[in-house]
Amino acid sequence: MKITNEIILSHGLKIDEYSKIKTLLNRDPNFLELGIFSAMWNEHCSYKSSKIHLKKLPVKNKYVIQGPGENAGVIDIGDDDAIVFKIESHNHPSFIEPYQGAATGVGGILRDVFTMGARPIALLNSIHFGSPENTKTKSLLNGVVSGISGYGNCIGIPTIAGETKFNRTYNENILVNAMAVGLANKNKIFYSKAKGTNKSVVYVGSKTGRDGIHGASMASEEFDENSEEKKPTVQVGDPFTEKLLMEACLELMKENSIISIQDMGAAGLTSSSVEMAHKGNLGIELNLDKVPCREENMSPYEMMLSESQERMLLIIEDGKEESAKKIFEKWDLEFVVIGKTTQTNNLVLKFKNEVVASIPIDALSSKAPLYDRKWNKKKVSSKKVDLKNLESIKFDEAFLKIVSSANHSNKKWVTEQYDQMVMGDTVERSGTDAAIVRIHNKDKAIAVTVDSSANYCKSNPKTGGKQVVCESWRNLIAVGAKPIAITNCLNFGNPENPEIMGEFAENILGMKEACEFLNYPVVSGNVSFYNGTNKKNIFPTPVIGGVGLIKNLKRIQNHRFKKIDSQIIVIGKTFGHLGQSVFLEELYSLQDGPSPEVNLTNEKNNGEIILKLITSGAINSVHDISSGGIILSLAEMSLSSGIGVKISKPNKISNIFEYFFGEDQSRYILEIDKKNYPKVEKILKDNGIYFQKIGITQNNLFELDKHLKISVKELYDINNKWYNSYNGFVS
């Protein structure tokens, strides 16, 4: 077949990239080779636009065992225990086919974690939909949530935390990010780097079908009106097979048989084989006649580019093939030696006794294109929001409108579709600042959270990048965990647009600053560009997955009020920042003003004191103050406990809307037993921590001076309406 410009472009490659391929090969590639290049050189697999920026992020602290570049990041949590975790996007497939897109997103991220020798212990997700009024939103919401639920519940890993958000920016491009967290023995971590020549390359798992061909390339393009036609590029998941694959891999990992292991994710057999060979500085030769196929007459092109799910590639020690095979047979899975490692540094593919492709490994990996794309600095608004210019509204009306809104309603409709309790170690489930999973049979736990703040990042990508890292850190602190490290999923628009590339570059700089200051490095992650349709890009939406360590299970904390007549205080300064706030968004449909700044010194000091107070056992409950400000945080504390509040605005601050809806950063609400209050006050003062007393807890009434008075029960009902009425089901 002659390779025309049309064929090149339909593979998502640029004409100059094709010229580079010819130079690297010293000849024209054949059609199969072109497909392989397109699979490896697309944005999703090559990180060609993001790499130079990602290098700026800190990737190490004393807990980090493995940073970015492997299947997942690894941190040390003591006693030979390691936590393996990563977040990944499955945005494009989920928009085209929500159930399978979301399900295989979960499946893919789980494989990344158990590939490294870890048993997954928790799943999280961050899902973003268009505005609820958008005609597609309801079916996408239902499909995605069922997909996540269907996969995670079946494989039996608890889905314990996440966020579900609505914003018109995602009308034509939703976000589905899934995170998995696993537990491994730190001396038994498995990597993808191949070692030794002439070792058996083994294919395990499901058979290869024609699904998902060019999936990774699809994820590297913008959508247009023809995107529906891409349905066949979406993979179909089978959580049952993945469960078997997981058990078989974990069983095999107990023996010393595996040299290296890599899951077949994006770009399937191509990227897994190239990755292993590249890391080991070796060549790899595959005999495609041996690849287990689900369909008849599959071509080498289809086999190499299929993204069929639930498959792995292993390199096995000499002489261990038979014992390894027995384990996979026990689990009724394929186990076929399909090739070997070589000295040639080439990817060589044989089919029907012919060499059908031969490509230097480095041409597919280290010599892939790398772009320093043009980027523009964002013009940031500094205009303070002036309430005088807005139509006046009563405080209680404003508050109830937010509490009953899609974004701030109770999310039980979503979370009750997820099995949160399987594995028996879920200490805190969804709905808290961070979820907590106990390390089985041990007196310690990890806390996990996923966070994003697209509005802040849109208005000021750098401040937003800083803020979202801090928010993650704060959420872990609030449950009594020491924040250790993060994984990030960077969802952005088209990087070929200098404005979008600018959002990315500046966002990374903000993240870097916060990660460095808080000693909270990035150990794994994923970049998803081209989120947009017909040149309309989504808001920059980095999602941060944070992991923290709790060493003493007696000293965990949550945000539920514990008793009446306790003191309520706000830690951190409240200036009344309404720019980019929930208040403006929900009540006036405005995304106006600057994003809130973060003072990293205050962030760190406030957080460290909170952790100290939690450890001392002196406080009853803690909640971080985030979107919606003080009043929404208080509402969440009341709604989760049934206990009310009686609060007032401290005198100095003039405007009640600014004080209670303002989104200044680095703040927490504490509930303190009156008998403990003097002790806590002293600690705060001794450490120069700014705080304000705002009121007390009381029985069943949510009350703010003369502005707001409602029973917690009534508030609960208002907060619990939206999802059921939207989805047309009353339980």
Partner: protein, 225 residues
């Protein structure tokens, strides 16, 4: 006391129940579905999960497995058998328990803590509970909507073969407190001889205050008794 937990491909509560049984002083053994012999055990547990991916129909394929032939034999000779969630579905498919478990009435997977009333404690699984106790256990299923014919329902009610019914926190058994649409709010049933219990809620998830509560413990201590 010896216990045996049957493991199918796709079981996913097998480790949880084994962990609970060990904690509560059972000597437990895991039994692979391809095995043709049961170890000597006083309690056989069929755990929750998605045996064989729930393909065909929940529990249908597992009910035809090698080991189930042995379980059926043993159950018919009086062994104590407990099926939880998918285990309950499997027991129904074997015919050891009668009725059917349909899709939840809202057609969605439901995972939450529910209140249950111990409506009958006159059996080996519930003797440690007081009659009319209200306990809270976790449910997590797609198909837990119990259905049976009128005669069988009458038999269940008349012969104290329903140990647990879904209720609200005050013990009221009503439509509002029925999470999945089960007939008469049934959460679990016994066979006529009362040596086999199938239930949708997960007692093994409720043995630890840190994680949830300890309302599941009495079920296991009743068996130990």
């Amino acid at each position: 006391m010896n216990s045996a937990v049957i493991v199918f491909p796709g079981s996913n509560c097998d480790r949880d129940i084994a962990s609970a049984l060990t904690k509560l002083q059972f000597k437990n053994k895991m039994v692979w579905h391809k095995d043709t012999e049961l170890p000597k055990s006083d309690l056989i547990v069929i755990p929750g999960g998605f045996s064989y991916g729930d393909y065909l129909r929940s529990g249908a394929i597992a009910a035809k497995s090698n080991i189930l032939k042995e379980v059926i034999k043993s159950a018919k000779s009086g062994s104590i058998v407990l099926g939880i969630c998918n285990g309950f579905q499997i027991l129904i498919e074997t015919g050891l328990l009668s009725g059917a478990l349909l899709r939840n009435k809202n057609l969605k997977f439901i995972s939450k803590d529910v209140n249950l009333k111990v409506v009958n404690n006159n059996n080996k699984f519930c003797s440690k509970y007081k009659k009319d106790n209200i306990i809270s256990l976790n449910i997590a299923h797609n198909e837990g909507n119990y259905f049976t014919n009128k005669d069988h329902l009458k038999e269940l009610e008349d012969n104290e073969l329903i140990p647990f019914k879904y209720c609200n926190s005050k013990g009221v058994i009503s439509n509002e407190s029925n999470p999945n649409g089960s007939l008469n709010n049934i959460a679990g049933i016994l066979n006529r001889e009362k040596n086999i219990l199938g239930m949708m809620p997960h007692p093994e998830r409720m043995i630890d205050d840190l994680v949830s509560n300890t309302d599941g413990i009495d079920l296991f201590s009743s068996i130990l008794n």
